[in-house]
């Protein structure tokens, strides 16, 4: 043990200071651009309408007519989500089969043929494009074409979720062990056979699990789409809020939270069953 006091500086300290400084430096424009002024929430001109609205929210409206309406709209929301996911699967499954590298016959003997590669990249980028446009935008466009109603919502969900499902299915299929599928292809199976006998059994649980999780998300999306006229709970909620009918708003919110809770329960039950 040395008698002199050892003066060692922490080598990570200059880096930490730089990171903290840079973060604070980036934080300032964020606060300014988003007009972040939390004290505004407590000013009189926003306190009054907030208080009035909150007071109107209790008690929630519970007359039989309205409850029946809300339950019907809740079913519509679930139906829009389910139909949307069903169509999304019609889009995603073929796209996945085309875009997955594991099913490439030309890649069995080394490099993939340029045409196959180009086709795969094209499908992949289409899926990414479909995924990047928020479904609300699709819904806005479709409402212009087919008019108000659930069709616009179903199609919007189908396109966006088709992109999402296609991309994630591709990732799941490519992350597993390719040996089984490759040996089937080498022995002369068609691509569809190799998929059904090789890829599908290995990854079925994960694929189903992700699809059910996305179905749950689709239910939430279809509420959002209701705000632009696609029907369901969202449209009802929009209407009630515009009329400042606080009681109706709280009923709809409660029903919605319960709906999401049920969907969540079904989803986790299924995932537990799949092991």
């Amino acid at each position: 043990m040395t008698t002199a006091t050892l003066q060692i500086r922490d080598p990570a300290w200059p880096w930490r200071l730089t990171w903290i400084g840079a973060s604070l430096f980036l934080l300032w424009p964020l606060l300014v651009t988003t007009e972040f002024r939390p004290w505004l929430l407590f000013e009189a001109q926003s306190r009054e309408p907030t208080w009035r609205f909150l007071a109107a929210m209790l008690p929630p409206t519970t007359n039989a007519d309205f409850l029946w309406l809300v339950l019907r709209e809740a079913w519509r929301t679930v139906a829009i989500a389910t139909a949307g996911i069903a169509l999304a699967l019609l889009l995603a499954v073929p796209a996945t089969l085309v875009s997955v590298r594991v099913l490439s016959i030309s890649a069995l003997s080394g490099r993939m043929a340029p045409v196959s590669f180009a086709l795969r990249q094209l499908v992949r980028w289409t899926l990414i494009l479909l995924r990047s446009v928020p479904e609300l935008i699709w819904a806005l466009v479709f409402v212009r074409v087919v008019g108000l109603g659930p069709t616009a919502g179903v199609l919007a969900i189908a396109l966006t979720y088709g992109g999402m499902l296609g991309k994630v299915y591709g990732e799941i299929l490519e992350s597993g062990d390719a040996a089984v599928t490759q040996s089937l292809l080498r022995n002369g199976c068609s691509r569809l056979q190799a998929f059904s006998y090789g890829l599908l059994p290995q990854n079925a649980a994960e694929l189903i699990s992700y699809t059910v999780y996305r179905w749950e998300c689709a239910i939430r999306s279809s509420v959002v789409l209701g705000f632009v006229g696609a029907g369901g709970l969202g449209q009802q909620l929009d209407g009630s809020m515009k009329m400042f009918a606080g009681g109706e708003v709280s009923t709809i919110l409660l029903v919605f939270v319960a709906l999401v809770g049920i969907a969540d329960f079904v989803s986790s039950w299924l995932r537990r069953q799949l092991g």
Partner: protein
Amino acid sequence: MRVELEQIDVRHLAARPGASAALNLDHLSVAAGEQVAIIGPSGAGKTTLLELIAAALKPRFGEVQLDGQNPWRLHGTAQQRLRGHLFLAPQTPPLPPRQRVVTAVLAGALPGMGLLASLRSLFYPRDIPGAYTALEAFDLGEKLFERVDRLSGGERQRVGLARALLTPASLWLIDEPLSSLDPHRAQQALSTLTAAARQSNITLIVTLHQVDAALANFSRIIGLRDGEMAFDLPVAEVTTERLAWLYAQREEALTVDSEPDAPPLPAVAVQCR
């Protein structure tokens, strides 16, 4: 710190109702500043005993007294303060993988630090020379600013031991400190620990598998077997016969046939769907 145990009965947390006790002691007393080694075969209850003394495990029956106080009779701040006077080093070094060695070692001094000092130490370690000295005692000075998961198993174990040198504790409970160390490092670690404990009059209780290391470094040996105390003797009286009996009995149990041959099942085949 003075340790006294009376009529102890400890069960495992998940034990079935009729299962035998994990630990069953009549009396154990360790004076302040004494150094004791606990030996015994695997499953004898050595770790359970250390956790009991560290007030991490509550006995079903019996009294634990640390410096005359029963930790299970105290509540809240008083209990925490009593805990601050002891230090338990588990078998697996309790170091978060992505933390740096300097922070991991200085965490041992947390009981003596206020809230603000603890928070400040996360951003800039407050006692780098102290941490360096503690690590140097175990030949790890140059690993001061390394990440814990970049160290080898033996180095991590030594970092866990170096923590002891920074605590404000007057009782050190060390569980299997030599399991990943080669003989040279093992002896170095034990000498460092015993010398530091002797210098500050700290009570030291160590469990060991390496019997020769225990006999060479400690003046009092306790033998545990199947949760009961086999012997509690000064090192001069621990004979090879006693040691053979302590460990041999267990090996015999392993070769005894537990159940007679079951009668063969009738030959019936059933077609299943």
